[in-house]
Each structure stands twice: as structure tokens, then as C-alpha cells.
């Protein structure tokens, strides 16, 4: 159950990052919907991480949460053409994700 909450929280990371992106791109009233989505998803994501951390070791929980978040956020950015998926960018993104996971697993 904790693991399911953790993975869902990681997925919500990508949701809030995307909503944050839209909030700062839109103007006036059109900001309202993405801003609300951002608030709800970021709170749910943090709460889920906090709940998962009570039964999964902090380092492991954080690593999984971050890994899912980075992969899904990049996938969203690439699918919506907000970001070009060049080989160099994908390698560097993978590098960051791998190092964060490694760091937390070693710790």
C-alpha cells in the first residue's frame, strides 16, 4: 500500500510540474484552473511522500519519488513539444535521475 501511494505521489510530481508550467505561461483568468490543479496535486504529492516515508526508508522513498517525477515530467515536456528530445539532453536527464537514485540508495 505504501509503495502504491509512493508511486502515485511521484506521478503527481509530473502533474504539478506541468500545471505550474501552464500557470506561468497563461495570463489573467486563464491562470486559475492550472493554478488550482497545481495546488491540489502538489499538496497530494507531498502528503503521499510523507505518508510513504513512515513505512519506507526516507532515502529509498525519496529516490523512487524523484525518479518517477523526473521521467514523467521529461516525457510530458517532450510529448507536448515544450522541449526537444536531443540525445545530449536525454543522456544528461538520465544522468541526473541515476545520480539522485544512487545517492539516496547509498545513503
Amino acid at each position: 500500500m505504501s509503495w502504491l501511494i509512493l508511486i502515485l505521489s511521484g506521478a503527481l510530481e509530473a502533474v504539478w510540474a506541468a500545471a505550474l508550467h501552464r500557470t506561468f505561461q497563461a495570463s489573467g483568468r486563464r491562470r486559475l484552473a492550472p493554478a488550482l490543479l497545481f495546488m491540489v496535486s502538489v499538496l497530494a504529492s507531498m502528503a503521499g511522500l510523507a505518508i510513504a516515508m513512515q513505512s519506507i526508508p526516507t532515502g529509498t522513498a525519496y529516490a523512487v519519488w524523484v525518479g518517477v517525477g523526473v521521467v514523467l515530467t521529461s516525457a510530458y515536456a517532450i510529448l507536448t513539444r515544450a522541449e526537444r528530445p536531443t540525445t545530449a539532453r536525454l543522456l544528461l536527464l538520465t544522468g541526473i535521475a541515476a545520480c539522485v537514485v544512487g545517492l539516496k540508495v547509498v545513503a
Partner: protein, 134 residues
């Protein structure tokens, strides 16, 4: 160019705050302790605002990865330098890897549709699409 530098500074500042809230979240024990919970709420809010401002000119995936990576590197680096966590060569290597990858991402052309750049030609055949790497 100046706008981009400001965005990267904002992003780094947000990453520092991310390390603060991540530490506070760990100490809040499920939001049951008031002080860490308050520190978490304030720093998390500021960190998100900074990230939001930064992604107006830095591509989303890149900004998010740098934000998270620098935050994690600082959290562990700080814990090691204060003696909370034992020193380890592997950890230092991973931290160096994160910083190196973040610096590499900064050196790439923006590639964002939100900001018109001279080299932003969507139909360009030079863009290598390698979705299998995801």
C-alpha cells in the same frame, strides 16, 4: 542572455530551498511536529514560486531535473559536512555527477517553444529523436 542567467539563478535558489523543505519534511514525521511542518510549508512555497518563474525561460524537464538534482545533492552534502551522515567517496561522485549533468543541461541551447530563439526550427532534420532512451 541576461534573462536566461536570472532564470538559472532563480532555479538554483529554488533548489537550495528544496533541500531545506526536503529535510524539514523528513523531520516533520507526517506533519505531526509543528516547527518542521512550518519550515516545510514556507520553504516549499518559495521553492515552487522560484521554479515557476524559472520555467518561463528554461525548458520544463530540464528545470525540474536540475531543481530536484541540486536539491538532493545539497541535502546529502550538507548532512555529510555536518557529520550527520558518514563521508563516502561514492556519494561525492554522485553529487559531482548531478552537478556535472546540470551544468551540461545549462550549456545546451534552450530548445523551448515558449521563447523564440534563432536556432529554433521545428522541422530541422538535425534533431535526434531517441524515445527509446526514456
Amino acid at each position: 542572455m541576461g534573462k536566461s542567467s536570472v532564470s538559472w539563478l532563480l532555479l538554483l535558489a529554488s533548489a537550495v530551498l528544496e533541500a531545506v523543505w526536503a529535510t524539514a519534511l523528513g523531520q516533520s514525521e507526517g506533519f505531526t511536529r509543528p516547527l518542521p511542518t512550518m519550515v516545510f510549508a514556507v520553504t516549499a512555497t518559495l521553492s515552487m514560486i522560484g521554479l515557476g518563474l524559472a520555467i518561463r525561460s528554461i525548458p520544463l524537464g530540464t528545470a525540474y531535473a536540475v531543481w530536484v538534482g541540486i536539491g538532493a545533492a545539497l541535502t546529502v552534502g550538507w548532512a555529510m559536512s555536518t557529520g550527520v551522515e558518514p563521508f563516502s567517496v561514492l556519494k561525492v561522485l554522485f553529487i559531482a555527477g548531478i552537478v556535472g549533468c546540470a551544468a551540461g543541461l545549462k550549456s545546451l541551447p534552450a530548445g523551448s517553444n515558449t521563447e523564440p530563439t534563432t536556432d529554433d526550427t521545428p522541422a530541422s532534420g538535425t534533431v535526434a529523436v531517441r524515445p527509446e532512451r526514456l
